[in-house]
Every structure is written in C-alpha cells, then in structure tokens.
Symmetry: C2
DNA sequence: AATAATTTTTAGATTTACCTAAAACTATTA
DNA sequence: TAATAGTTTTAGGTAAATCTAAAAATTATT
C-alpha cells in the first residue's frame, strides 16, 4: 500500500496535529522523524500527489480523510503489537516501543484482526493510549496533565505522553504506573515540581516528568 | 544489521545450496528472487565485500560461515513466526508464508527468544521444516520424496518442499497433511503419478505434487 | 515599512536497489 | 576447434529517500 517511509510521515503528522493546534509545520515533522526540512518538503509533495495530505507551500499541512485513516491504521497496529509484547511475551512497558515501531509496518489486515482477537480486543496499550478499532474509531481519553492539576485533587494515572525507556524506568521506580491512585499536595513555586501522594508515600516529581503523565481526575466529592 | 534485501539474498542462496549441489549460480538466485541476473551480480559484489559469501566471477557463490549464520537466523525467525500464526492466531498452513516473509525481517534478538519461549520451543514449523535453535543448530529430517518411494513401502508425511497456497490447499483436499500415514501402491508408468493409500482411501497423486511431499519411511517389518 | 531572523523550498548530489542492452565469458556440440 | 548457445558481467540509467548549501518566502522586530 504505502511505503514504510510514507507511513512514518503520516503517523508523525497525525501525532503532531493532535498536540499542536493549526497546520503541521515542516520543521516539526523533520524534528519528529530525525531528518532534514529539505527531505520533508520532498515527501510532502509526494504525499500531496497521493492525496494523503493537503499541502500549501510555506503554510504547513493537514491530513486528508484518506491520510488520517492510513495514519490511524498504523497507530492501531503499533498499539496492538505493544499489547502483544507486554501481555504475551512479558516485555516491560519501557522495552516495547522500538520493536512495535518495526512491527507496525507489517502489511496484512487479516493479521491485525486476528491479533486483535487473540489479545481479547484490548482498548488501551501498555502506555494507556487508546487502540483504534477496525474502523479507526476510539474514545479519546478525558485526561489532564499532572502538572496542571490543582492542589487537593485526586485521580488515577491513565497514561503517559512519552514512551522513551529512561522516562518509563524512572516512573516505575517512583511507583507512578498506570492505574495508580494519586493525590496532589501542591506545586512548588520555585521549580514547578509537583508534590503528591502515591502508595501512601509523599513524593516530589519534576515539572518535566509531570508534563508527560496523564491523569483522570476523580469525581469531586 | 543487514538490509531487508541482503537478508533475502542470503536466505535464497542458503535454500539453493541445500537443494542443488556445488556453488550457487547467479541465474538460480535471480530466479528465486524474481529479479534479473544483472541485479544479482550487483548484490553479490556487495555481499562479497561484507564477507557474507565467497564469490568468484562466473563461478557462482557459496556462503561464508558468517553468511550462513545470518541466513539461518532469518530462517529461524521465519519458521517461528509461522508457528505463531498457525498455533496462536489460527491461520491455516497455506496462509502463513507471505506474512512470515515480512515478519522474518523484524530485527530484535530478544524478541525472537521470547517468541520461541512463548511458543514452547517448537522443533518444526507448520510445513514440517525444522526450526534452528538460538545457535543455528537443528537436525535435518531424514526424509524421502514421495515420488521416489518404492511400491509396497509405508511411511508418514513429515513435510512439504513447496509452500504456495494452491499447492497446500490441494494437499488438504487430498488429506495429505503432516503426520498422516501413507502406503505406496505403485507408480504409474505412463505419467509418473503415484498410487497410494491415505485414510483408508486409494488416491492418485501427480508426479509434480509427489515431488514436493516429504515422507519418513516406516522401519521395514 | 524596512530590516533581521526564522522557516521553508529549490538545486544539485549521494546511496540503495533495481532495470535494459550489450559485451564477455563458459560450455556444448558439430 | 570453431561456431553456437547459454550464462554472467559491465555499462549506463531510473526511482526512492536522503543529504548540504543556497535561494526564497514568511514572520518578527525595530
């Protein structure tokens, strides 16, 4: 269908469009793919010819419906393979990203559907990200970032927005894993770090770390 | 490590060297990869530079120890993934070849070892081919081709030497699957077809089909 | 609005893997 | 052994994806 490289571009464009408002910039894509702006421009022309993106020179791009569907398919595969690696092959959540990055390009829709079935139609991957269904539908999780939560609130960690191994290993050590209940004690004015209770322990988390932890707030009492 | 394409060349060279005696010819490789002799020559130079093959112009190639090890690694992955697809995802044996052809290039030794463990360290793939262990060792099966068996002999089907879907579906219809006991009634002089008993039924199998069925003969009574 | 800074695009090259057509080599056989 | 058939290699070219350096366009700043 689409080349390995095209799929990576679509995926990155999709991810950026979910986090940044407006059209997606050439430099942002270059950054997300560890490549140069000139290479991105070349590929944008190609993706535009294939009607996978809407592209206006110097103005950035947006995915077309077709492009969005293709991107979501890749993301679905990535997340299903991550579940496979953790649930079945006993990998840790910090080990699976790079392998899933390769597996996501395996091209067989029947394989994806069988895998989904085998895994019991999981709704979320090991990092808490929602897994799109066959038709590309998923409920985006109503989350808030840890560094934005007001003092006194309580909630449950439902995901992370960074998947690097060092970050995840750090979280593991702090006991900040998915499903864990937390209570915010306050934010340190000096460095923006967050004071919180986890597993009956009071810990301090840097702002940088807090920015990548997604929390579902508890219904207010 | 090695590119997708390099791995495919090594794999094909290995397979040819197992079936044909002597060095592997350029044309045979081109044939096995559905490419042209000129392209093969280009790649042979590259593989030779990397010391994966011994190559003398016009004389064909042989794998070096390094090349052989790389080829066997790919074959190990291919066969393990086939077991996964059939045992876990409930694919039929005629559906798995093409998907495994993609999966075999996924690059992660820990993944392969975990998969092997998950599958219970299988010794053979769904087509009866032996699966090399971590170190590349495997017992080659002592088999004989169906068309070479003498009248009156009995045996058990232990494998096939063609993996195409039409061929395997045909075998399935005839009841000629792995583990099935057969008894040779004779060979038809006119067309070389084989008369045999399977599941208490007398059937006739064309020479072309018989050539791709591997049988383990029963100890003579 | 003019200038400076930043971003993006163009131009021209490189690498990998492939192709066709022609030349060179090897094997066959008359 | 000379001609011919078959195989393999060389020569020259294409397409995908990348790069660097320079030009062009946009955005920000006096």
């Amino acid at each position: 269908m689409h080349s390995f490289t095209e799929e990576n571009y679509l995926k990155v464009i999709y991810h950026i469009s979910q986090t940044e408002p407006g059209t997606v910039q050439t430099n942002a894509i270059a950054n997300g793919l560890n490549t140069k702006a000139a290479s991105v421009t070349d590929m944008l022309k190609k993706l535009s010819d294939k009607q996978l993106i809407d592209y206006i020179k110097y103005q950035g791009v947006t995915l077309t419906e077709k492009g969005k569907a293709a991107a979501i398919k890749v993301i679905r595969k990535h997340r299903l393979w991550e579940v496979f690696l953790v649930d079945k092959l006993k990998f840790r959540w910090d080990e699976v990203h790079d392998i899933a990055e390769e597996l996501e390009h395996i091209n067989s829709s029947i394989l994806v559907e069988r895998l989904d079935d085998f895994l019991g139609f999981p709704k979320r991957d090991p990092h808490g990200d929602p897994i799109p269904d066959q038709h590309g539908n998923f409920e985006p999780s109503a989350h808030i970032h840890l560094h934005e939560i007001a003092k006194g609130k309580t909630g449950i960690i439902i995901g992370v927005s960074e998947h690097s191994s060092p970050f995840l290993i750090h979280l593991e050590k702090l006991g900040l894993t998915i499903g864990v209940a937390i209570a915010i004690h306050g934010i340190t004015a000096y460095d923006g770090s967050v004071e919180l209770m986890v597993n009956a322990q009071k810990i301090n988390v840097s702002r940088k770390v807090a920015q990548h932890i997604l929390v579902k707030l508890e219904e207010t009492e």
